[in-house]
């Protein structure tokens, strides 16, 4: 597992890149055809957040910007997903690694980023609302699934997070037993009860 120091370093690097990307995106460039696959994804500007799916989080953290537009890999923040049953929630320090420098382009972004900074200065971590919830008697070892499905396996259950302004549980991912079983049947992996229940 990467240490904090390393991560902060990488973080700063990402910020630089991200900043560059952002400027590039904002500079009107008619030369590039809009529909070309090469076009990097640009997260939409959202005025009305009320209509978004999923629970309202204390801070309007946008996966579509971080994971989509800036293409930060999931494991940069959820860094224990490949080694532990728990994916790991990024510590506030991880956020600050970038947001020390990046303070947002639009007023709304700045507002949200300010929240992060205040939280950091006040040493009070935001209380995110859990979106994907399993009862305790159902064990889900993330690391096994990443190992089996690859680094981008996340989307299979969590949906295309990189395009979600706000995280919501995809309709097809019911997180019910039948849904798990179906996948285990397709992939011909164990369906023994005590693999998940103990």
């Amino acid at each position: 597992m990467i240490t904090l120091r390393q991560r902060t370093r990488v973080g700063v690097l990402w910020c630089a890149l991200a900043a560059g990307r952002l400027l590039a995106a904002q500079a009107p460039s008619p030369a590039t055809p809009p529909a070309a696959p090469a076009t990097p994804f640009v997260a939409p500007v959202i005025d009305d957040t009320a209509g978004l799916a999923g629970p309202r989080q204390p801070i309007f953290f946008r996966h579509d910007i971080h994971a989509g537009q800036d293409e930060i890999p999931c494991q940069y923040c959820h860094n224990t997903v490949a080694v532990s049953s728990e994916p790991g929630m990024p510590s506030l320090q991880t956020c600050m690694g970038c947001h020390l420098i990046i303070s947002g382009t639009t007023a709304s972004h700045r507002a949200e980023i300010t929240k992060v900074r205040t939280a950091w200065s006040e040493r009070k971590a935001p209380e995110w609302l859990r979106v994907f919830w399993l009862p305790q008697f159902a064990r889900f070892p993330h690391q096994r699934h990443i190992k089996a499905l690859g680094q981008d396996g996340c989307t299979l259950c969590h949906g295309d997070v990189a395009r979600m302004p706000q995280i919501a549980q995809p309709k097809e991912s019911t997180l019910l037993m039948g849904w798990c079983i179906r996948c285990h049947v397709e992939r011909a992996v164990s369906r023994d009860c005590t693999v998940c229940h103990y």
């Binding site: 597992m1 240490t3 904090l4 224990t80 080694v83 532990s84 049953s85 728990e86 994916p87 790991g88 929630m89 990024p90 510590s91 506030l92 320090q93 991880t94 950091w120 040493r123 971590a125 935001p126 209380e127 995110w128 609302l129 859990r130 919830w133 399993l134 009862p135 305790q136 008697f137 159902a138 064990r139 070892p141 993330h142 690391q143 096994r144 190992k147 011909a188 164990s190 369906r191 023994d192 009860c193 005590t194 693999v195 229940h197 103990y198």
Partner: protein, 1007 residues
């Protein structure tokens, strides 16, 4: 999250991404993951959520100083295991060590400083106030008698106390109810030095224990047990025969239970018996005569077997035989202590046994002098008596107490004296009797929360580090407080590190201090100091003095029964009583939990007209107790025995007002050798009351047969690799067809999806020759599997939840007198052909591909058919919701729930539960193996019971892998399956207990 500790602090402790974060939900099978995710501000280095972090530290439940590994999940200690690197316990741990967690999370811990107000009650105050008061008192009391009372302690904290006392001119008193003082005095008497030598049980071939319960409560139990198991273990084809153990004492403790022979000498005459044995050895020249022994010629001459036979109650012939076998065994070892050392002539007895060792040539071989255990640190009883006097005279202005609870173990005299002290300060974690009487209570940190080091053995320094943030923010390490009083900057950690810098400098090693320090922390201390040079001990005993020391007897009329008070195996002197795991753990001998008892021999009971459960009044000159009778052949006729540990008037909800306090029977006056006598003559009166003993002992239906098997040594040695003396039962004729059909069915299964291909078959092997019945595995199981404690009332109604029970069957001689016992574990046998599976209507009980009897808690509807159909009766039902927060049967009151293992579901009411070989550990290991693209290695998976077993009697592994240790043991000629005749094909193989030939095979029913 329930109240008690407020949510934010809880989460700060917890750090948290869910997994078992929140409290147990009252409905549904909890503890459920939180609905909120609170990230760390700064992620702690090296901690992976959902994965345990291991911290090395040292167990402080007793003075043995076992190395421990504490498993920490999301910032919480959830399990304690032995540290394999520690030479003390070699990775093993006893029940008390396992239960340390319940001291850490004890709901009755002192959470804030308390001060006695005008109304005479203790009321919370702030630390500032508290420290200010302390400071005033110290200044006011200097030069007028300041006394610091502690328990057995060595190392940094210990020395800091002395340093502080020196600075203010105070006195230091150490007090332990069981301080091995007779042992030290006996050694002084015999060798002129009070050092406690090192007893090499592993090398012994013939062990004679004079009252020393070295397997359970004496000196270094885990180490001794491990060593003795090695000495006694039977390995086919091993040249030397297993060690023989003869126990001398008025009652059988765990050590006696594992004896091959029991000599129930008259209490107090053990010394004479020892001399008689020495007499025979010297007379017949069975061992090379030593020069020193010559000086004792007359003394020995007076102790001819014939002469002492009558007095000791041991026939001369037996003495002759034992003496011969003992001396000829090649590696004899006699140990004296425990019960035999608790008489007024205890020191004399120890000295006599030293003489025996010397005469038999054990000194220098199995008894190594020079490597002294730091028993001095346990203090002297005389000092305590003096302190009581001073207190009574008002000569003590300020009394500070830490790690000692004399108000419980000493009688009223001390408590009255305590009131005379002008001011009493207590550094405490729980509100024990002494603390409850204090004027100022400073909440101390639990050993698992604080820094310290100690010297459990010569040349060995054990480190102690906090494994988590303090459970209660408002507790402070006593070390920090003292440093504050000394006006030293920095906390105790800095102080400790400074000491280690010094040590590092002296060691003059080339590595940097940081490296040195980190290495020590990771290992749990410095283990490679070596024992130090052994020196030959000269037998300097003065015959006259020895003679005199042996004579001192218990006062009182001889016709009155002698009452011996022995330390409780897990509650010990009472410090374990506030831990529900230890309260619920049946005593290995009596199988009684939650209350104390008095042991009475059947003949005596018949004479008195009492039966088990009758409450009698025991009255000694010092005091009286009402005790329920337990009629047992394991105590000598005419003698009664009571355990310590119960009868608290404080110490929290689990200890308070339970049963009686045996200490009240004992006189306070020190004996001739300075220590306290733990025996007294008592009068016994029937009260007419009767109570049902909270015992898990089996009833007298004669069917122990098939549960335990034993083999004479000769028979065992004669076994060829191909022999299977017990396997003939495997498939009886009438079941042959069924068995074959079953085999086909199993074979066909390997074609089916889930069961296809090669699968392991998890199995367990238990060597009954090693198992001592100490019950450490039981507590380990509670800790690992979130098993609820149900309390006395439900236990008497036969509702205990212990997945693992230890069945004890006496081994009796022709007269029906037990000479020892066989203890056997009974847990789910993971039958290959399980009766519980087909009857479950919802597949909650089913057969897993890897051969377990899976139990899916969340699928169980609780028809209990499986339990009816289980011949081993190892399934346990949740009659109530033992995890309901604030519920009437809540087994995990806040913050005890923090020790719940997040990897194991907490069962709700109406659900059947049982042992599954710690399936969570199996799956965990499989996950890791899978990530590393390999298969699970043999020995990689260790269930909690096997991990902790001090005698290494339990081995787990894959039965389908012929190379695995368990397969090898399962194929052992001594192997058998319990109730094999039922054709259940258990995955647990028991290896028959091997006994020395002269002991009759057991009728296991008699118990």
């Amino acid at each position: 999250m329930s109240d008690g500790i407020n949510r934010r602090r809880f989460l700060k402790v917890l750090g948290v991404t869910g997994g078992g974060a929140a409290a147990i939900s009252a409905c549904g099978i909890g503890p459920e993951p939180t609905r909120k995710l609170i990230p760390y501000l700064v992620a702690p280095e090296g901690q992976i959520p959902g994965t345990a972090t291991i911290y090395a530290s040292t167990c402080r439940e007793c003075a043995a100083g076992c190395g421990i590994h504490v498993r920490v999940r999301e910032g919480h200690a959830v399990k304690i295991e032995g540290n394999a690197e520690s030479p003390v316990n070699r990775g093993r741990l006893c029940a008390r060590g396992q239960a340390a967690l319940q001291g850490l999370y004890n709901p009755d811990r002192v959470r804030t400083p308390l001060a006695r107000g005008a109304d005479g009650h203790l009321a919370p105050i702030t630390w500032d106030e508290a420290l200010q008061r302390l400071d005033e008192q110290v200044r006011g009391a200097s030069e007028q008698g300041i006394v610091f009372l502690t328990g057995h302690d060595t190392g940094a904290m210990d020395e800091l106390v002395d340093e502080w006392l020196a600075s203010i001119g105070g006195r230091r008193v150490r007090y332990e109810p069981f301080a091995y003082e007779a042992l030290r005095e006996g050694n002084r008497l015999a060798f002129g030095s009070a050092d406690v030598p090192h007893y090499d049980l592993a090398a012994a071939k013939y062990v004679l224990s004079f009252g020393a319960d070295f397997l359970d409560t004496w000196l270094d139990p885990v180490a001794f047990q491990n060593a003795f198991a090695r000495a006694r273990a039977f390995e086919a084809g091993r040249a030397v025969s297993p060690a023989r153990l003869v126990y001398v004492g008025p009652r059988l403790p765990v050590t006696g239970m594992n004896a091959d022979e029991w000599l129930a000498a008259v209490p107090g005459t053990e010394g004479k018996l020892a001399l008689a044995l020495a007499h025979v050895i010297a007379r017949d020249g069975l061992a090379p005569a030593s020069a020193d022994a010559g000086r004792l010629a007359d003394l020995l001459a007076d102790h001819a077997p014939a002469a002492v036979a009558a007095e000791t109650g041991v026939p001369a012939a037996v003495i002759e035989r034992v003496a011969r076998d003992f001396a000829r065994s090649g590696a004899p070892l006699a140990v004296a202590g425990g019960m035999a050392a608790h008489y007024p002539n205890g020191a004399g007895i120890v000295a006599a046994v030293n003489v025996l060792n010397h005469v038999a040539g054990a000194s220098g071989k199995t008894v190594r002098h020079g490597a002294a255990l730091p028993a001095e640190a346990a203090g002297r009883y005389a000092d305590m008596a003096e302190l009581t006097g001073d207190l009574a005279d008002g000569a003590v202005a300020l009394l500070l107490v830490r790690g000692a609870n004399p108000a419980h173990s000493l009688s009223g005299a001390f408590i009255q004296a305590l009131d005379k002290a002008r001011f009493v300060v207590s550094f405490a974690t729980t509100l024990d009797e002494t603390t409850a009487a204090a004027d100022l209570v400073l909440p101390d940190l639990h050993p698992l929360e604080q820094w310290n080091d100690s010297r459990p053995r010569p040349g060995l320094t054990a480190l102690q580090q906090p494994v988590m943030q303090p459970v209660f923010a408002d507790c402070r390490a006593a070390g920090d407080v003292l440093l504050g009083l000394l006006g030293r900057p920095g906390g105790f950690r800095a102080h400790l590190e400074a000491r280690w810098r010094e040590r590092h400098r002296r060691a003059g090693s080339r590595e940097s201090f940081d490296a040195f320090w980190m290495a020590a922390l990771q290992r749990g201390g410095l283990y490679d100091g070596g024992e130090g040079a052994a020196r030959a001990a000269r037998l300097t005993a003065d015959p006259a003095a020895l003679r005199a020391a042996l004579e001192a007897g218990i006062g009182g009329p001889v016709e009155q029964p002698m009452c011996v008070v022995f330390p409780h195996p897990v509650l010990h002197d009472g410090r374990g009583a506030d831990k529900p795991w230890l309260q619920e753990l049946p005593d290995p001998v009596s199988k009684i939990a939650w209350h104390a008892w008095v042991e009475v021999h059947p003949d005596t009971a018949a004479a008195w007209g009492v039966v088990s459960g009758d409450v009698v009044l025991l009255t000694s000159p010092a005091g009286a107790v009402r005790a329920p009778v337990w009629v047992t052949p394991s105590v000598r006729p005419g003698t009664v025995a009571v355990p310590t540990g119960q009868g608290h008037v404080a110490s929290g909800r689990y200890a308070r007002d339970r049963s009686f306090n045996a200490f009240t029977l004992l006189a306070d006056a020190p004996t001739a050798w300075g220590g306290r006598a733990f025996a007294a003559r008592v009068t016994v009166a029937r009260t007419g009351d009767h109570r049902r003993l909270a015992s898990v002992e089996g009833n007298s239906r004669p069917h122990g047969k098939g549960s335990v098997e034993t083999l004479g040594l000769a028979a065992a040695a004669a076994l060829g690799a191909a022999d299977h003396p017990f396997h003939h039962e495997e498939t009886p004729e009438y079941a042959r067809e069924a068995a074959e059909h079953w085999a086909d069915a199993q074979y066909r299964k390997t074609e089916l999806g889930n069961y296809a291909g090669d699968q392991p078959r998890w199995g367990l092997a238990v060597d009954l020759t090693r198992c001592t019945g100490c019950s450490a595995c039981v507590t380990a199981c509670y800790a690992e599997n979130n098993i609820a404690t149900v309390g006395e009332e439900l236990l008497t109604r036969g509702r205990e939840m212990s997945w693992l029970r230890i069945e004890r069957y006496w081994l009796t001689d022709d007269h029906g007198t037990p000479q020892g016992a066989v203890s056997s574990l009974m847990m789910c046998q993971q039958c290959g052909n399980a009766p519980c599976e087909p009857v479950c209507p919802v597949y909650a009980a089913y057969h897993t591909p890897d051969g377990l009897n899976g139990q899916v808690y969340n699928r169980c509807v609780g028809t209990r058919y499986c339990a009816n159909n289980c011949p081993y009766k190892v399934r346990y039902f949740n009659w109530y919701n033992y995890a309901e927060v604030g519920g009437a049967w809540d087994a995990f009151p806040d913050p005890l729930h923090l020790l719940l293992n997040p990897d194991v579901t907490v069962r709700e009411k109406g659900v059947m539960e049982k042992c599954t070989f710690c399936v969570q550990r199996i799956r965990g290991a499989q996950n890791t193996a899978r990530l590393e693209d390999r298969t699970v290695r043999d020995g990689e998976i260790v269930p909690a019971c096997a991990q902790t077993c001090p005698s290494e009697a339990i081995v787990f592994g894959d039965l389908n892998d012929p190379q695995s240790r368990v397969s090898v043991m399962a194929g052992d000629p001594r192997g058998y399956h319990v109730l094999a005749g039922l054709n259940t094909k258990p995955a647990v193989t028991y290896l028959a207990r091997v006994m020395h030939a002269d002991l009759g095979a057991p009728p296991p029913a008699e118990h």
